[in-house]
Symmetry: C2
């Protein structure tokens, strides 16, 4: 199914943390599977920094499979034969939801940096507007990795009655100093590109491709582990037997990074990169609850499944453990799995059987508790 | 004492790994203390990526103390009342030794990228030319951290008879895939700056400040640990009570990084950054010895003191351990200390008493073995 759009008019604005009302608002989303009669089987997937709504279908720009096709689909852990899966592009994104490339009605041009700065809570509020629009009171599950996991936590805190089960994966309840630092490097790389033009590049028919590629390259290193890079590339040369004594991409890891940079700019907008990284930087869930994370989940009846990966140094297990401690302190139901892998933060997107088994088991138990009918086996 | 220079003329070229002869060659260096009568008390300090010869004197450009004033000076672990300390700017650098900003005699303009790519071994060969010039047969000690430690290892492998003692700190015998990746990001940031002009910016009276600042910011994160960033900056705001909902440097860590970038460009050359990072990338000492690191030290009579820091993720303890294993396998004399600190790779430059105690103890024992007269206590 192609991307669907819902347009919220002037009289249904998004109330943003920046203190302004954003209207009109468009939300672009994909759905998979069928909503059941009592609307109890809806799963909301929240995407990460550079993700989008194309979870489990061929991406319209890249032509590649959806970013979580291993996790979501018929017979997959988030089984679209059983659940109605929804994923919307975040506010501030660049795949159809209102973002810096959207038309600013006040000027008739692209927003650029005139779009108010977006927060994780703004993203979640907009998703709630979509869920209202779809007539769904309670989501069976909200799931996501990395920034998606931040949204999962924000959903559980902001709308506890609307979240039956929650799966934050490789996430954190607040962005660390080191992570803010890496984001700032990416933003400075974009803003240093003269083609960025103070954020007004779209009006001028150009794009800050070089700056965005550098930002992507720096970030990409943080998604992998030292061990994984050593295993995948080591110090091996790219299509040569010996070093060229030049600044060419002699090493495979250089060639790989350059490729990551150059392909990213074809599908992602530089200003969106600024907005979405900023949303992550500002995320500190405890801050809204007197500095005590457990208060964010006080009285929650949501069941949580928290997952981390041993080699993830961007959102290390300690971050997940802090979430689990807070959930324990608040008396919430939580299971916690740390998965042994050398694949780093990116593991949440990869073929990691233990992640699938954990998610499948958690969702099956939750579905029984929620009274969702078992999948009818096709003969 | 101001920087001294030695000029090697056309008939004394540097034979470079790139297969070319570099001439003329200028080496800029500092010395501290006095060479004793039998020339047995010379210590060569090798500097790191962005260091220079100003180890223990006020830096002529920044006006700040030398980069290793905590380690080198009167009464310091590398005691200039007892030892004659030498430090030269590396080939490819930008503080007086021949590098990309130097005049290319073939064109009458700055070398730019016409300078052959430099290796760690080239740097060491040039240092050996300086040591010859100073009439010193054997160095009492060669010491350095990070890239300086790479040079220490290369010295011990290339000129075993000329190195009585060796102190590689926070170093590695080969640059890892992840480290090559971070360097490549920095180089791409520089080359993406249109003011880089294909490396010919000096001829045009401009400098790629923005690209170099981004490179420095990305690198700087890798010099610190996650814990140190959290302790120093956490999520604290810079001169404000609440976020501004903008792309200003709201967070202290952002402000700090921007400052690091902006001050760096005042003292460092962008092309030198390309050359010196490349030298580190190419470093793989075992490669020259049939892939077996121990062979690099076969029969060595040098005494080694290898030091690493627990929170250093750029040159982690595993890298030092690999060096120690190779030294053990080659039958060399080696002591190994892993120092507990949360300060990351930068710890080698900081006030870390355990590093000073280790270095002092190692050097005193070595000095006794070498027969260097004890320091005369002033009354």
């Amino acid at each position: 199914m192609p991307t669907q759009f819902v347009h919220f008019p002037e009289n249904q604005p998004l109330a943003m943390d920046a203190g302004v009302l954003l209207a009109p608002l468009t939300i672009a989303y994909q759905t998979y599977g069928t909503l059941n009669a009592d609307k109890s089987n809806a799963v909301l997937i929240c995407h990460a920094l550079t993700g989008d709504q194309h979870v489990a279908n061929i991406h319209p720009v890249t032509g590649k499979p959806g970013w979580w096709g291993t996790m979501v689909g018929p017979g997959r852990p988030i089984d679209t034969d059983r659940y109605f899966v929804i994923c919307s592009n975040v506010v501030g994104g660049c795949m159809g939801t209102t973002g810096p490339t959207s038309l600013n009605p006040a000027t008739g041009k692209a927003y650029g940096l005139d779009l108010p700065v977006v927060t994780i809570r703004d993203m979640v509020r907009a998703q709630a507007m979509l869920i209202d629009h779809l007539g769904i009171d309670q989501l069976f599950c909200v799931a996501g990795g990395s920034m998606g996991g931040m949204q999962v936590l924000q959903w559980a805190a902001l709308y506890p009655e609307r979240v039956f089960a929650a799966m934050p994966i490789a996430a954190a309840a607040r962005h660390s100093s080191q992570n803010i630092a890496f984001h700032e490097v990416g933003r400075q790389a974009i803003m240093a590109d003269p083609d960025w033009r103070g954020g007004r590049y779209i009006d001028q028919g150009i794009k800050p491709h070089k700056g965005l590629a550098v930002a992507r390259m720096a970030a990409h290193i943080t998604y992998l582990s030292d061990e994984a890079l050593q295993r995948k590339f080591g110090r091996r040369y790219q299509d040569r037997e010996a070093p060229t004594f030049s600044f060419d991409a002699d090493f495979q890891v250089e060639s790989y990074l350059r490729y990551q940079g150059s392909t990213f700019v074809e599908r992602f907008d530089a200003n969106s990169y600024l907005y979405v990284t900023r949303a992550m930087d500002y995320f500190d869930l405890a801050e809204d609850y007197g500095g005590v994370l457990a208060n964010a989940f006080k009285g929650s009846r949501t069941r949580f499944c928290v997952t981390s990966f041993t080699s993830d140094w961007l959102f290390p297990t300690a971050d997940s453990r802090a979430i689990v401690h807070a959930l324990n302190a608040s008396g919430a139901s939580v299971s916690f799995v740390e998965i042994e892998t050398d694949r780093g933060h990116d593991a949440f997107l990869l073929n990691v059987p233990e992640l699938f088994a954990t998610s499948r088991g958690f969702l099956e138990a939750a579905a029984r508790a929620r009274g969702i009918a078992p999948k009818v086996k096709s003969s």
